[in-house]
Symmetry: C2
Subunit: 203 residues, 2 copies
């Protein structure tokens, strides 16, 4: 979206800058690790004085928390989209697995933070993230259960372990994926969706 220069409201400018700060934090946390990164590093990445950053955020942990909120919002939106599709249970699982893997691949720095740094949240923020993850896990489990009920998976499939297996494999994408690898993200996401569906339908 093109900047609107002087005609832009203060509120909009503030939101833009706030997003810029979160983007810089993703870069810094990913490169240095959350524990080693400082607010000063984020300020340097944005190109402002450390003091100015406190107009937009209260603490390093708030920054981490904002990264998580955005990631949760986006991955729940994918989940919602998959629910609205007028397709079979197995097609829904494939669509979701592809879209979800692709989200990871296209946001790999953020995904790495999401997977690795959640332990650094504390108190209510930690509770919220853990709760959200359990909800997500439940929804993935329901999607697998639906495939089982449709008769496309074995009646003896253990939905809970299949769910863990899939979640950890997708959460593992940041451990090996590099943007400059040989295959486009879309192709890898398609392969992952195929593998997930094969596992669910043939175990």
């Amino acid at each position: 979206m093109a900047r609107q220069g002087r005609s832009k409201s203060n509120g909009a400018q503030r939101r833009d800058r706030s997003e810029e700060v979160v983007k810089a934090a993703i870069k810094v946390f990913n490169e240095k690790g959350y524990a080693s990164a400082s607010i000063q590093d984020v300020a340097d990445a944005v190109g402002v004085l450390k003091g100015s950053l406190y107009h937009y955020i209260e603490s390093k942990e708030e920054l981490l928390s904002r990264i998580f909120e955005a990631s949760d919002r986006e991955s729940f939106a994918l989940m919602e989209e998959s629910r609205k599709l007028d397709v079979s249970a197995v097609e829904r699982l494939h669509w979701f697995a592809r879209a979800w893997s692709l989200w990871y691949l296209e946001n790999i720095e953020r995904a790495a933070i999401y997977v690795n740094e959640w332990k650094h949240l504390t108190g209510a923020r930690l509770k919220a993230v853990v709760k959200t993850r359990h909800e997500y896990e439940e929804r993935v489990a329901e999607m697998i259960e639906a495939v089982k009920e449709s008769g496309e998976a074995s009646a003896t499939l253990d939905v809970r372990y299949a769910c863990y297996f899939i979640l950890t494999a997708v959460n593992g994408l940041p451990t090996w994926y590099r943007r400059r690898g040989p295959d486009p993200a879309e192709q890898i996401a398609e392969v992952y969706a195929d593998m997930i569906v094969a596992m669910v339908c043939h175990t």
Copy 2:
């Protein structure tokens, strides 16, 4: 193994104590995280003065490194055992996947350290661990390739991505497995092996 009391040689006593130190380190690193844990914590867990610990180890990093060496030795032994079996490629993959998952489950604290703390190694130790992991990855890939060559998997299976998928799912066991869960480790390992083989043979 029963202790042999006074008849035990100094060398054997030293080895016992050294193993005790590594065991305590596994416990401490797992509970506090490697970065937050101190040599003092390990000494407290063993029940000796910090100074005595330096008879057995040089540094906290050496302790971490020893944990990795033992884990690598044991997982390569499983790999070797699987190669010696007189079975089909797909049966070999199943045997290995089961034994490897079971190793993770039975050594879950050590496995968690193995998966999460390798970044804290430095220099030659880090290089050695990364090299070992690549070798392991190659061997898992060869095992999948053999299934493909045997005709039990599709000729279009992407061995590299299947390998990543499996490695990350097994590496993910420490994120969710708890020893007091409802199912015995053997059962979970069997389910994991079934899921891995289903994925490889039906994608």
